[in-house]
Symmetry: C2
Subunit: 360 residues, 2 copies
C-alpha cells in the first residue's frame, strides 16, 4: 500500500485518531537540544546526561530525542543558564550555584557548607519545600529546574602541608571556588580560581598550596595524589547536586506523556548519578590506597572547623538579612536539616560508626 499524497496522509491521521486510543498529536516527534557545562565524555557528570537521553528515547519509542552538546561544541560552559533562558537550547545540565553572580539565590540549590547530605537534600526537594523554592527562583527566567545528579560528600581538598591549626591556614593559596571559597577566605585562606587543566602544574610548582576538586574518582584523573600527601575530609559541599534546566516554552509544547517521560528520566538520571558516584569513588579510592600509600586522610582540626562554621553562619545571616527570599530558603533548609540529621544520627551514622569500631 503506497500512499504518498498529502491528502492520504491527512486521511491516515484521521483514521489513526478514530482507531487507536492515543491522539494523533501525541505521536509528534521532538528533538530537544541539551547544552552541558562539561566537556565531551566527562565521567559521571556526562554519563548522567547520556543516561537521561537514553531513557527518554527508549521510553518514548523514539518520539523524544535529546541531542547533547558538550562544552567543546557550544563553547560556553558557564553560558548554559543564558542559552536555555533564551531558548537557544531546550535543556541545560550544569550546577545551580554557577549562576549566583547573576541570580544570587540560585546558590542554595547545589549544596551548602555544613548542609544536608544527598539523602536529606533529596528529601527536602521532594517532601520539603525544596522543589517549590527552587522553582520560585527560576520561574522569572522562564525555566524549570530539576535535580540533575549528586556527587555525594565532596572531599575537603589536597594539601601539600599538613594543617594542624587555624594558623596553618593563614595565607594558604587554595583553589576552592564559590561560596565555600568565601567562607574559607573569612578564616585566612586565599581562594584562587584556576582552570582545571592547569591545576596539577600550579600545585606542583607551588603557585597554589592546596586544591579542592570533587572526590577520588574525578581527582584521580588530575593526578593530585602524586604531589600532595594530605587528603582532607569534607565540610563545604556535602551533597553537590547538579541541575537540569528546561526552557519553559519547550516544556509547554510537550504533550503530557512526554513531559512525564522527561521528568522521570531526569529524576532517575539524578538518582543514578548519586549511585554511580559511590561506585566510581569507591573504585578510585581503592586504587589510590593501593598505588599511593603516601596519601593520608585527615580531618581539619577542631579550631579550623569551628572557625569555618562560624564564618558560614555569619555569611548566611548576612544573606538572609539582605534578601527576604534568601531568608526563607535558608530557614527552610536549616529547619529540614535539623530533623533529618537527628534521624540520620541514630540510623546511618550510628550504623557506620558501629561497623568502624567492630573493624578496628
Amino acid at each position: 500500500m503506497k500512499i504518498r499524497s498529502a491528502l492520504a496522509t491527512i486521511l491516515a491521521f484521521g483514521l489513526l485518531t478514530a482507531v487507536v486510543s492515543a491522539p494523533a498529536t501525541a505521536q509528534e516527534k521532538f528533538t530537544l537540544r541539551l547544552a552541558e557545562t562539561w566537556g565531551p565524555n566527562f565521567p559521571i557528570f556526562g554519563d548522567a546526561t547520556k543516561n537521561m537521553a537514553a531513557m527518554a528515547e527508549e521510553m518514548s519509542n523514539g518520539r523524544l530525542k535529546i541531542r547533547i552538546d558538550s562544552a567543546n561544541k557550544h563553547k560556553a560552559p558557564l553560558g548554559v543558564f543564558d542559552m536555555v533562558k533564551a531558548g537557544q537550547y531546550d535543556i541545560g545540565h550544569s550546577a545551580s550555584y554557577y549562576w549566583k553572580g547573576k541570580v544570587p539565590n540560585t546558590l542554595f540549590f547545589t549544596s551548602m557548607p555544613f548542609g544536608m547530605t544527598a539523602d536529606e537534600q533529596y528529601a527536602w526537594f521532594y517532601h520539603g519545600d525544596g522543589m517549590e523554592l527552587m522553582q520560585e527562583v527560576y520561574e522569572p527566567h522562564n525555566m524549570l529546574s530539576f535535580p540533575g545528579g549528586n556527587t555525594g560528600v565532596q572531599m575537603g581538598g589536597w594539601f601539600r602541608k599538613e594543617i594542624n591549626s587555624l594558623e596553618d591556614l593563614e595565607g594558604v593559596k587554595m583553589r576552592i571556588p564559590g561560596f565555600a571559597g568565601e567562607v574559607f577566605s573569612e578564616v585566612g585562606v586565599s581562594p584562587t580560581n584556576i582552570a582545571p587543566g592547569e591545576l596539577y602544574t600550579a600545585l606542583e610548582r607551588g603557585t597554589i598550596d592546596a586544591v579542592e576538586w570533587v572526590g577520588p574518582a574525578l581527582d584521580l584523573r588530575l593526578g593530585f595524589q602524586q604531589i600532595a600527601d594530605y587528603y582532607y575530609t569534607g565540610w563545604h559541599e556535602p551533597a553537590t547536586e547538579l541541575q537540569f534546566l528546561v526552557n519553559q516554552k519547550t516544556w509547554d509544547k510537550l504533550p503530557a506523556d512526554l513531559q512525564a517521560i522527561l521528568r522521570t528520566a531526569m529524576k532517575t538520571a539524578a538518582y543514578d548519578m548519586m549511585i554511580h558516584s559511590v561506585h566510581e569513588n569507591s573504585k578510585a579510592w581503592a586504587s589510590i590506597r593501593e598505588e599511593h600509600p603516601n596519601v593520608q586522610i585527615k580531618n581539619f582540626p577542631e579550631d579550623v572547623l569551628t572557625a569555618v562554621a562560624e564564618a558560614n553562619d555569619k555569611l548566611l545571616a548576612e544573606a538572609a538579612e539582605e534578601d527576604a527570599q534568601a531568608k526563607r530558603i535558608i530557614e527552610s533548609q536549616a529547619k529540614y536539616l535539623k530533623n533529618a540529621r537527628n534521624y540520620t544520627d541514630i540510623s546511618l551514622r550510628a550504623y557506620l560508626n558501629t561497623m568502624a569500631e567492630l573493624n578496628e
Copy 2:
C-alpha cells in the same frame, strides 16, 4: 469520518504504519495486576507501588495500567512469590528474604547483617554483580526481580530493659524474624514471631521482652514508645530493599517502550521510597523526641556486637560451604562492601561525625 468495518480498521493500521513511526502494535493497551505483601494504605511501602503505577500510566499515556491488590484482597501476603510465578499476578511487591524457605539464595537481596548501606547496595546492584546474581536466582522461577524501595538503616529494636552486656541478652524473648533472628539466637536471644497487630500487647504484657520492627515512622504507629524506654541502633538490616517481581511471560509480551517505562518506573519508585523513608522517619523521630522524652537511644554494648558479628560470619561461612551459588553471592557482596565502605568512611561518615562534633 466514521469508519467502523473491520476492513477499514485494517486499512487504518496499514496507513498508520506508513505514516507514523510507532508500529501499530505499540498502541496496544495493557492492564497488569500487582499483588503486594502489605495491607491497603500501608505507609511508605504501599506508597511505593502507587507511585510506580502512577508513573507508568502517565508516561505511557494510559497504555500501561497497573491494578494494585493489597493483602486484604488477595489474602496471601507471603504468597506473592508463588502467585507471580504462576502468572496469577503479573507483578509482585514484597521483600526477597521472605522466600528463603523456598529458595534459600533469595535471602541475600534484601539486606544482610553488617552489610552494605542503601547507597552502597544500589551501587552493587547497578554497577557491581548485584542485578546479575539476583536474576540468576529468580530466572528458574520465570520471574524478573528488581529493587523495590529502601527503608534505610533499620533500628535495632525496642527493649523494656537496658542491655549492658551479652549476659543481659540471655533468654530475652524478642520479635526479630529471618536471618537476623537466627544470628541473634546464636548469642542467646529467643527469637519469636508474632503478628504485627499483637506486638504491642505482647510487649506490654511481657510475652516478649523486645521487638524489632522497622524504624521511627512505622514503629510509631504501633506505639512501642509508650511502653519501652530503650531504642537500639541497628546492625541487622542496614538497607532493607523491597522487591518488584515481574512474571517473565508478562514481561515478554510488553513492547520495548513499555518494558522501558515499567523498568524505569520501578527503579524510580525504589529510589523515591528510600528518600520518602528519610522524610517520614525524620518526622516521626522528631515527634517521638518531643512527646516521649522517656525514649533513650542506645548502642548495643561492644561484647554484644562482637558476638553477633562472629555469629553472622559463622552462619555465612556455613551457607557458603553448603551452596556454590550462595558462596559466589556472599563473596561478591563482601568484596564490594570492602571498597565501598572504605570510601563511605572518608566521605559520608567523616562528614557526619564532623558535624556531630561541631554540634556537641
